[in-house]
Symmetry: D2
């Protein structure tokens, strides 16, 4: 049985295990104030060309989202996002748990537009009853989105402009950031992100680490006292160096990007295999998630050998499904899948 169910099925890249082993008996101070975290932060600032950024390491994505968002918003403000946004749908109301409404806008292929955001914000501020409504206080985007699609650089710049005009910080959830940056057709570069977003994070959990997300505040004013927020939200890892060590390893010689590239190229092959057989897709995309629409019989046939996720019903006869590749997917697994798809 070969699983394509998600991109966090395995442990971590062996270089990380080795680094953990090599550093195991070092004695370091806790809570992220060690030399590994400092070095990892430096490497991130270098790779993303953000010399003044404030970098923090958290264990997971939901934690990162709720901690960043609640640290930025005033009590009566909410966060604007796509209705398919992870914070709106799949975090058990973690943002609301901190007291803030998620202001969900209709999304197309997981994306929202600068125009939508502008018109929502204008409508709010021109409403006579605005004080009776939650004020939009920041914008949350996922890159790639939950459907594996990507914003173009131009789309991001347009959104950034609206955010600046209305003094709303822009936050980009990069749980799968590398898979986005390495996707074919992506015109966003690592160094663009700190210029576009006020704060974003570099996902480790789904991209080769055991766990860990590196939060990058390119707007350092937003990072003031952020460590208090981390601690209060239960996100301050006692042995913080575990995060530092992992990101040191991932940033070293571009490993993070190599692993992402590997997954994206394998996903391209999976996509091609389904396309070659004439299957349509729930969404057109180029990152490590592939969403073919398959007849139920084909789903049953593939399920004998492969694990994958039923994503969404389409009609009586068809479902949309999801196959994920990852840093850990062996080429042989994709070869087996290609063969099986050809046989459908």
């Amino acid at each position: 049985m070969i699983l394509f169910e998600s991109d966090y099925l395995e442990g971590c890249h062996p270089a990380i295990l080795k680094a953990l082993q090599d550093t195991n008996y070092e004695q370091t101070l806790g809570y992220g104030e060690d030399s590994h975290c400092a070095r990892a932060a430096d490497m991130i600032r270098y790779v993303f060309d953000a010399p003044d950024a404030s970098v923090h390491f958290l264990v997971g994505g939901t934690q990162a989202n709720a901690t960043v968002i609640s640290s930025i918003l005033k009590p009566y403000q909410g966060v604007v996002c796509a209705e398919s946004g992870h914070i709106h749908v799949h975090e058990t109301g973690a943002v609301e748990h901190t007291g803030h409404k998620v202001l969900a806008l209709p999304a197309r292929d997981g994306k929202i537009t600068a125009e939508q955001i502008l018109s929502f914000v204008q409508a709010h501020h021109s409403d006579f009853s605005r004080e009776h409504m939650v004020q939009p206080g920041m914008v949350y985007l996922s890159f790639p989105t939950e459907l594996g699609t990507l914003y173009t650089k131009e789309e991001l710049l347009a959104i950034r402009q609206v955010c600046r005009d209305w003094e709303m910080p822009l936050f980009i959830d990069g749980a799968r950031l590398g898979y986005g940056l390495e996707a074919s057709g992506c015109n966003v570069l690592p160094k663009d992100l700190p210029k576009i977003a006020d704060v974003f994070y570099i996902g480790g959990t789904k991209q080769g680490a055991l766990f860990g997300e590196a939060i990058v505040f390119s707007n350092p004013a937003l990072a003031q006292d952020f460590r208090y927020n981390i601690k209060q939200n239960g996100g301050m890892l006692a042995k913080g160096r575990l995060l530092g060590i992992q990101f040191e390893t991932l940033m070293n010689e571009g490993l993070y990007f190599k692993l992402a590239r590997h997954a994206d190229r394998l996903a391209d092959r999976v996509r091609d295999a389904f396309r070659a057989k004439g299957f349509p897709f729930l969404v057109e995309n180029t990152t490590n998630q592939v969403f073919p629409i398959l007849p139920k019989s084909a789903i049953e046939q593939l399920s004998a050998e492969f694990g994958f996720e039923r994503w969404q019903g389409v009609d009586e006869e068809h479902d949309g499904v999801r196959f994920c590749t990852s840093w850990a997917t062996p080429e042989s697994a994709v070869r087996a899948l290609e063969a099986a798809v050809r046989k459908l």
Copy 2:
């Protein structure tokens, strides 16, 4: 330089690193629904003689405390604890962040008594204005306490009785549980804990794991839908198996307890070394934290070779300090410290 500053200075016991290595390419479902977590939970139920307990794994202690407490309390209830309790002093208001007041009682050597709790609860419920005050809704104890002291079994049973009489769940923070259970003079056994507490946790972070706390609900009614709470509080680790693997390893052949015993015996030697030189202690205890009161000159002298924490000023000439041993402390480190103390 040898550090005794805390019990989370190193990585983890090598058996855990090996287990991570051995399982690295297993493909498992995420979020703690894998066979390692299941097996670790079974082992815990067996070792702590709690066949019906609901067991959950979280990454850290602050997260565990806030998640458990907020899952139990009604909105207008607070948690009773010692004024020196970790949740009151050192978690940046994580409990208050979930909307609940910490009801701190005066503590003696880090402990509170059944009588204190009873009289506080009685006073609340007999007050004409009780609805204007936060209702005591549960009790939080640390075992060992933040000062390394221990409740006796009799003290715990008395507190349990008050809790039952007043329908307040009893929660025991076991961030250093093993160091307590293996301490000389401790008359509490692992199997006693589920009978005393409604919920407690077995600390991994400070006792040989990279990270991780195993929450044990011996009162399964309190665990209903607890996984929703974990997710909402940002505590659901994507690769949940990392927690399962660590606790499998620690529970295997009593490793958890052996490591604790190791630390406690070394702490006994540290205590004896200071006692032999006639130094008094901030608190008498038998666990892995040692709190001698030292002249500032002695502190300076020891600081040349050893790291340890200045805990509390005592007078012009003296400070109370803390030395921690841990699962990772080599016997040679203690020998060096003993020699240095003798030379003071």
Copy 3:
């Protein structure tokens, strides 16, 4: 200038002012524990045929909604409501401020159906990832809705059934309850409400009182310690008797219902006036809010003499507007409006 902009433009019914005057120098205990509150609660229990109900008086609707909802939900639960529901749209996120997500369903004329709720709840509980989503924990309806429409008794009973089957308390916001109960065509009686809803409130602010909403828990288990919740949410009026006195007066000899009837009949006349001229409506309804769609020229013309609210753009040439009648609207005001409409 005659204002039809809302139903809270004036002070209160003179009988209430008189009662305040008559009782002004009585000395009573505070916080709602006085004989006026007790008597008002008794009268409500009698009028609504709910002998075991627990009755509480709050000052306003947003306060009532957030206090009731947060007292019922578990931390990871949300409240299901229509996307046009007041708590979703017009309370500045007061529910989210208490940590809970509002789970908004598409609405038709301000209403949702039992089928919608059922299918939403079933979808949640059958989802493999349900623990990553907010659990539906209760249902909130407005009667009348924010668009002045009404649920039939049959619709309410169907919703109640779904709520019972899935153990979700049903809460009815009755900010304009009387205007609903007295509307032509309404087949819900006062005595039906406690049998349908677990908790509902009787709006005073918009129906003749200076302020005040009477919360009725027909499911008394939900009312346990509710006064703590009131106090914690800042809703416990020091001179609680002011609420008791007002509801005593409103419940006396059916004044509450008479005032509502008055407003509804005048609203019928307003509706008829617009209908007679062939204007369509944003929504068909029979309560005290009237929503004609008017040409902009007509709006301008009417604005010279009357205040009313622009509710929603319809097309280039037309807007939907809202006229409210109330307990205080004089018949002469409606006559003037009728005349003006005829002249359009």
Copy 4:
């Protein structure tokens, strides 16, 4: 039976009832955006010599406290106050309900000092583990305190200085502000308050109004978007004019201060009566609350004719009790009490 149990036993000053009557059929916009609120705010700005202040009207004190405090603090900050402070003891954790810890300092006669605050804040910011603790973010004082004592102008100025030095807004709870300003020996003037506090409120509930507290932000930066906060906290009164009308009346020709003076002078007589019989006091003060320590037999004897509150046990034979006078206390009631005390 004459009640001295609190200062909110009666309705309101007749001038307020008259004003409500006179304005009853005015049609005004809701939510405090009417001409009465505007005029009352102007009067307050004039009387307190705060031409730039932002003034808002809320219904009650707990609501005012939680709304102001949560609008000012960052998530990880707490509010410093006396351990006897109303927000710490008697508001059912309303502040914690908004996510913030109350940082209670030991109090003497209900007061804390500039030195205490300074040393607490310095200790926090110099602590190596400060990020693990709640950061002091503002200071809350009551004037008069819960024990009826007063800060001198010099004490307030010293506290103000610490607050400015550490960028912590100073908030003064003036639930009984008038009773403080009119107390014998008070050297604080109305015009001093806006210069001392960043925000304070003028209590109406206990000083002649039916209800209502006027919040005055002398630091207008703190008032930005405050109306959103009011709404979100359930404190925006639909018929906001009711608050405006009451404060217009109270500010007119110094009525607010006259009523306070009346109560204070009667309290002086009550104090003198007990003092003349040689009874000691729980606390020495000069405002409208009197706290004699009485033998239980005397308490029983007085209880036959008078209502008053048992405040605190003193010893086997004695209790401290509280007598409150108010704007409504008739001189005859005090005369009767004087006679009864003489007979003890």
